[in-house]
């Protein structure tokens, strides 16, 4: 017999549903679960903090993680910890300064980093780095330089980068907006500045140094250490038409210009795409945030209790103990056993964990309006979320099956095409990155059976690959 939910149960479901919302958590948030700080876990944030505190004046670090693993939350935790130790922590979102879908070049990137730094110093200390600010200052520098070039070469033709840049600057071009949204301007700027990179870097360095001095002055701390978090840079990727070119361009910045990207007197952290480690293996050290490990890297994927406890605790915080009992039942152990079914399917991916539980809560009302929740609801929730991973192309299934078998990327080569395909697996959580001592990969539990079945199928028609 079907039962209806009473108003109290409806309120409970609503509260829990809202508490399961996926959002970056500020340090101190009651829902924050220190999953990376447990003794048995890997904590890339602690590693970064140690490295920063061991380098006195300035340093450069790369931080990465796959979508939904809690990168921004962990970066904010790092910021809070450093602030507690007396650092001035500046945070900028790279996508406010750079186009996320087009190639990036060192000229644009340097300007974006310096511009963002200037704005954040002003925001955090209430003091402008210089009277004119970075954008006007760099605009003046460009006007001066292009004018000199034009005067030196009076026959400079219309359409030359210098003439065009000068023209646009005179017309009142908003440099910050143009860098992000005007590819043709970026191209001209890059062409013009390519052999003046040293000059540009000097301008940027001077500005950054002034910024640090201004911040120290404003805070009254002559030895103040400054940390600059340049977040979301890893989200720069192309669309299908230019993905490979964008991958190459990002790769180029870090392969060739790593030193150029260092900032004087500043500890800078760039969040970078995780695939950098595939295209430039061993070139530099990247702290990568792994998924929470729920299983060991052995053939039978035996359960790893440490990871399970983290997720069980994280869920309990969102449900509250009383809420958990009402929703999953009061029978000792049985409720946890039911919740564990969803945890097992999360793959150690925090966003998927929340999504699975949310889906189950959403299904109760329209489908099985009774509490405690029934196993059928949980099964359907898993099925619904699994559907979001589909369709899986046969070719992809074969590669994924290989990853599941080998527990590495099974990357055939480091061509942009292969890297792009692997990145899309990681983006969609079809593949998960895990770590215990060293990093390893596995496929998401939600797709394991399907991948195995598809990989075994004969090749009925090559046209299946879209």
């Amino acid at each position: 017999m079907r039962m209806a939910l009473n108003p109290e149960q409806e309120r409970l479901l609503k509260r829990v549903y809202q508490s399961l919302a996926d959002r970056p958590l500020e340090p101190g948030d009651p829902f924050y679960e220190p999953i990376y700080q447990r003794p048995e876990a890997e904590d890339p944030v602690a590693m970064l903090k140690t490295r920063i505190s061991r380098t006195d004046v300035e340093s450069l670090h790369l931080f990465s993680g796959f979508r939904g693993t809690g990168k921004t939350t962990e970066l904010l935790r790092l910021g809070a910890k450093l602030e507690q130790q007396g650092y001035l922590v500046l945070y900028a979102n790279a996508l406010e300064y750079l186009s996320g879908s087009e190639e990036v070049d060192i000229v644009t990137m340097l300007m974006a980093v310096a511009g963002a730094f200037g704005e954040q110093v002003e925001k955090k200390t209430g003091t402008a780095v210089s009277e004119e600010g970075f954008w006007r200052r760099i605009g003046n520098y460009l006007s001066k330089t292009t004018l000199e070039v034009s005067e030196l070469s009076p026959k400079l033709e219309i359409g030359s980068p210098a003439r065009d840049i000068l023209g646009e600057l005179k017309a009142g071009l908003d440099l910050k907006v143009a860098l992000k949204t005007a590819p043709s301007f970026r191209q001209k700027l890059h062409d013009f500045m390519a052999n003046r990179l040293g000059d540009l870097k000097r301008e940027v360095n001077a500005f950054i140094e002034e910024g640090v001095k201004a911040a120290r002055h404003a805070k009254g701390q002559p030895d103040l250490q400054v940390v600059f978090l340049f977040d979301q840079f890893e989200q720069i990727r192309g669309s299908r038409s230019n993905e490979q070119a964008v991958i190459r361009s990002v790769e180029r910045q870090f392969a060739r210009y790593m030193d150029t990207l260092r900032l004087p007197l500043v500890h800078v952290i760039y969040t970078v795409p995780p695939w950098l480690q595939f295209v430039l293996p061993g070139a530099f050290s990247i702290e990568i945030l792994p998924c929470v490990r729920l299983w060991e890297n052995d053939r039978q994927r035996s359960r790893y209790p440490g990871g399970w406890r983290s997720f069980q605790d994280a869920i309990l915080k969102r449900f509250t103990e009383e809420g958990f009992r009402q929703i999953f039942g009061t029978s000792p152990g049985a409720g946890q056993q039911m919740a564990d079914k969803l945890i097992a399917q999360s793959g150690g991916h925090f966003r998927d964990l929340l999504r699975l539980f949310r889906e189950a809560i959403a299904l109760v009302g329209p489908w099985r309006p009774t509490l405690p929740i029934t196993p059928a609801v949980l099964e359907r929730a898993v099925a619904n979320i699994r559907n979001e991973f589909r369709p899986i192309a046969d070719d992809d299934a074969r590669w994924l099956a290989e990853i599941g078998r080998r527990r590495d990327t099974a990357l055939p080569d480091s061509s942009p095409e292969s890297v792009g395909r692997l990145s899309s697996f990681l983006d969609a959580h079809l593949v998960l990155y895990l770590a215990n001592g060293e990093g390893w990969y596995d496929i998401h539990p939600l797709i394991r059976e399907e991948v195995e079945a598809l990989a075994k199928l004969p090749l009925p028609a090559k046209s299946r690959k879209q």
């Binding site: 479901l13 609503k14 549903y17 809202q18 919302a21 996926d22 979508r67 939904g68 979102n93 996508l95 186009s99 996320g100 879908s101 979301q232 989200q235 990727r237 669309s239 299908r240 966003r351 949310r358 889906e359 809560i361 959403a362 299904l363 009302g365 329209p366 489908w367 059928a376 099964e379 359907r380 099925a383 619904n384 559907n387 979001e388 589909r390 369709p391 899309s424 983006d427 969609a428 199928l457 004969p458 009925p460 028609a461 046209s463 299946r464 879209q466």
Partner: protein, 396 residues
Amino acid sequence: MTQAETVEEEFLQIYGREAWTDWQRLLVHFDLGEGFAFLVLLLPGAIGAKICQRHLSEHLASKGKRLAEVACEWRDDARRLPERLFNFEVTGDLGGVWTGSVVPDSDPEIDEWRKAWRWGLASLNERRNPLQRHFSCPLVLVGDPWLQALLREAAPDLWSIRTAVVSVIPSLGPAESSEGSNVQIEPGRFLKGEAASDPDYTLEQAGRLRGRPGMESTLARLLLRSGNGFYEHARYEAAEECFREAAETLAQLAPSSAEPRGDWAASLNNLAVMLSKLGRREEALAKAQEAVRIYEQAAQARPEAFLPDFARSCGVLGSILGSQGRYAEAAAVFARGIRALSPLLRKLPKVFSDLAANLCQSYTEAVREAGMEPDRVLLGQVERVLEELRRAKPSK
């Protein structure tokens, strides 16, 4: 069909009861959630989308909120989606924003539409965080099921913050009248081959070929036709004898090419159906499994020729498993058949639509009986093709 008086009735007439539960999954977010949410609604057909939009609008109105639309009637609307969304003025009474367009695969300009959506979504992907800040209410993106893969690929950051993806899959075939009815999955719908209009006469002709070396294949074909004819006249014992003889004849041939293997498998396939009809289920199961195995091998050599037969044999095997109450296994076998047929269905929808519909209906019945959740993506792929066919046919 009676005139629908409410939005719910209208929805049920088009999509069926199961789909209504799907739709409720999206609606429930508006009751439980708060603030920004990114909801993706996938369904075949713009008419259904309009019904859903109307229903959501009424639902929000009952709470004193309104549903606004950022329409995407033209490709340029899709391409310029980010700027149109950010130019949208958010007011206090806004309960949700509805955007998107349901463009079926059959649309002559589908490639252009895909490009436009790819562009629009990739641009929106870059502004994911500002989007979350801009709207303090749910944003519903509606589209044909193909939008899911495109969204995942072109807008991975946006995809990663999705709140829910709801696929409304119409129930195939007539709706069941009551809960818990004992479903009979009919294997006869998967019989292979033509039927003789006068099976006795055809059997007589076949008799002339018995014992003549080199005529075995022809004999077997006549027997198959006779057997199918007897089946249509409900003379199952006679049919069973025909199919058995055909199978035994062809089994002795030790075929070297795929063609006679196909006839052999067809005989076994049909024999399995008859045995099932006669209640000899264990023997029926064994024959059906053998047919599946032979067709699978034949399909590896000539997929275009034998994949449909392989799918059909999956239909028979699934039906027999279902008749034994082994619904979960039956569902897996039907799904296998649907997957095998899907590429060909897309190429030749008119040829394979009946077989695909039969497989899907059997699959849906089997998963329901097993208490499982259907693979909605798989069903959606077929339903889209069938929906396009239905639309292409003028209504009589």
